[in-house]
Amino acid sequence: GGSSGGDGDSKAGGKKLVYFMAPNTTPTRYIQQDGPDFKKAIEKLDSDIEVKFVNAGGSSATQLSQANAAISAGAKALVVVAADPNTSEGVLQAAEAAKIPVIGYENPPLKGKMFAQVVFDPENVGVQQGEYFASQVKDGALGATPVNVARLYGNKGDVYTTEMLKGQDSVLKPLIDDGTIKVVCEDYVKDWAPDNAQSAADQCLTKTQNKVGAFLGFYDGITAGVIAALKSKKVEVPVYGGQNPELTGLQYMLTGDQQDNVLKAFSVEAEAAAKITLAAINGEQPPADLVKDTVDNGGSQIPTAKLPSTLIHLEKGKDPGEAVQKAVDLGIFTWKQICTGPAASTPTCKEKVG
């Protein structure tokens, strides 16, 4: 073995190594879309860069090990989606000690120095979901007030859950307080997992004897669990609060089972991260056209690229395909991918893929 690991230039035919550090395999987007998109984008910008992927399996300790390993392997920059932002300061310190720039991505590490970060602001996602839901309530789409609402949050204690909840509550709190909305069930969904969401929805329906006016979730995996619970009981209740999106979320919009979704265009985020990473490697400042904000992450002021997320929703009398088309336009999924399973037989799909 080599005596010094700091010098990775000897490796991979002299290519510059960049590590894309994913948190786990659920949600799927990091290995399925963000990672490959990032690789494509940065290699197009500089063919001398080699991207390696690691996956922390949901554990901060593993992620710290991976960061150390990446540093040993001679990484020039780390793109980090934190396995747990709260416990990822170790990663930042290790990188700082080795003088390697860290680019925070989507769910970035907290409380330490970073070169820059790229995010779809989770609080803003929560606000978007909340605002659309509030507008539906006010429009009377959910019937007479008070509307009985079942809320299912993310994994308790996660930064993402806390931030999104802050966003949703900023809109919904007043409606709850004035009695327009009555929260009949609320529960945190362990690990954001569909099956946990399904049993939580099961129990809520039993408890209220199916008297739920609407479900409001946090993410497509959670809404998918809720929809499965509703279908198994043959109960029809509108489901709100999609996000990300997952394939199932878009399909359920086509079948009319899910009302809305917040689109976070992976390719846009990946491209932005690629540009910022390149600047970091070349010792330049973060590109000013992207990185316009500064965010205090509890330890440092981080130059931040805040990307706009888009809410899409079904509309009475309109083809749901119009809403979903936006996701296709953003390159999140193709119609061929979406038009499978239950969506295959929808009129929209018959039209789009024949």
């Binding site: 997992a193 569909p194 408890k207 394939l247 399973g341």
Partner: protein, 389 residues
């Protein structure tokens, strides 16, 4: 004569002895009753027909997986990989049945075969001499990778609205369900016929057990068919349990299974093909994992990279152990899969129904589980205190 008439012994002793033997499942049932009573006083909805149906559907996956695990525990091995494997098999079935449009049964056959082959490979390594904990831990990690490979690029297959989804949503019509239940009872009574007419076993005992089981089966069917009939997953679980029960208690295979788990050396010296018995157990687990995965996916209407993850694995092992199967081999029954899954499921269901905050849910779930098994221990040994040492 070899067997002398038993002299009268104290009643308590006779009851305890029975609890350790043919009434082995009664303490768990008492505990289950206590759990139900506890939650019933806290929520009116708990013992509603709707919630009981919920409960049973929620535990089917765990119970089917636990059934397979009972076979593996009985030969003195352990498994950590079957939950993830169930996700892999469910995905493969979804790929063929939904994406490629194969006939559902053909796809199911492929899935079950895959489950069995995957377990066979692991079992061969175990038989080779590597501890099963390590092999199946390694297997678990490999299957996590495999799941990513078999999933399509979107990492999810939505099976809603397809035939696949019907596996969990179909019902056996109420009338047919009752016919089936009665047929099962007749078969059971028939198998005890000799006990009833002969004097070998206690005649009252045979009649009482037929009566109790009759009430339980018919009552269960009545509650579960309140909606549209008997849910298909329940039927699948029921058939699997009955077949497994027959195989383990009445056949040569069953005797050998318990022998291998009780004392592997002694079994081998008696000419039992020990390694083959271990392989069989893992093959059964593989099939159970595939079926559990398919039922679960069909209930969740999708497979994804979280299929087979979460607490399923530990719940299934815990169900087997809560139901009374030993981790050290040779002791337990296939019914422990059902009873243990019911205990765990009833706790989770009740805790969620009460709508406490997550912290309280955690405390209640963990606490009630331990208290439930402690109650079982006390009833079974017939004394509050263990021997001091």
């Amino acid at each position: 004569m070899s067997v002398s008439a038993t002299s009268r012994t104290p009643l308590a002793g006779r009851i305890t002895a029975a609890f350790e033997d043919r009434l082995r499942n009664v303490p768990v049932l008492i505990v289950l009753g206590a759990i139900w009573l506890f939650f019933d006083t806290r929520s009116d909805a708990y013992l509603s027909s709707q919630n009981l149906t919920n409960l049973v559907l929620q535990i089917v996956t765990t119970a089917i997986l636990a059934l397979g695990i009972v076979f593996v525990l009985l030969v003195g091995e352990i498994d950590l990989s079957s939950a993830i494997l169930s996700g892999v098999c469910a995905t493969v079935v979804a790929n063929y049945a939904v994406t490629s449009g194969w006939n559902l049964y053909a796809a199911l056959a492929v899935g079950v075969l895959l489950g069995m082959v995957a377990m066979l490979v692991q079992a061969l390594i175990i038989v080779f001499g590597v501890p099963s904990l390590i092999v199946t831990l390694g297997g678990m990690v490999v299957f996590q990778g495999l799941l990513l490979v078999v999933l399509p690029p979107e990492f999810t297959v939505n099976v809603g609205g397809t035939d696949y989804a019907k596996i969990a949503s179909e019902h056996l019509p109420t009338s047919l369900s009752f016919v089936l239940a009665v047929l099962i009872l007749i078969a059971y009574a028939g198998s005890r016929w000799r006990d009833i007419i002969g004097s070998r076993s206690d005649r009252t005992w045979a009649l009482v057990s037929i009566g109790v089981i009759g009430v339980a089966v018919l009552g269960g069917v009545t509650v579960l068919t309140r909606g549209n009939g008997l849910p298909f997953p329940v039927l699948i679980l029921g058939v699997m349990l009955i077949v497994a029960s027959y195989a383990t208690t009445s056949t040569r295979y069953g005797v050998h299974l318990y022998a291998v788990g009780g004392d592997r050396d002694a079994a081998q010296r008696a000419g039992i093909p020990v390694y083959r018995m271990v392989l069989y157990s893992f093959l059964i687990l593989g099939a159970c994992a595939a079926i559990a995965g398919v039922v679960d996916a069909s209930r969740q209407l999708a497979v994804s990279n979280s299929s087979g993850g979460g607490p399923l694995m530990l719940n299934a092992i815990a169900a087997a152990v809560v139901g009374g199967t030993s981790l050290f081999g040779g002791r337990g029954s296939v019914w422990s899969a059902l009873l243990g899954a019911l205990v765990i499921g009833s706790i989770n269901n009740g805790v969620q129904l009460l709508g406490y905050s997550p912290e309280v849910q955690f405390f209640a779930t963990g606490g009630v589980l331990v208290v439930a098994v402690a109650m079982d221990v006390v009833i079974t040994r017939g004394s509050l205190w263990p021997r001091r040492a």
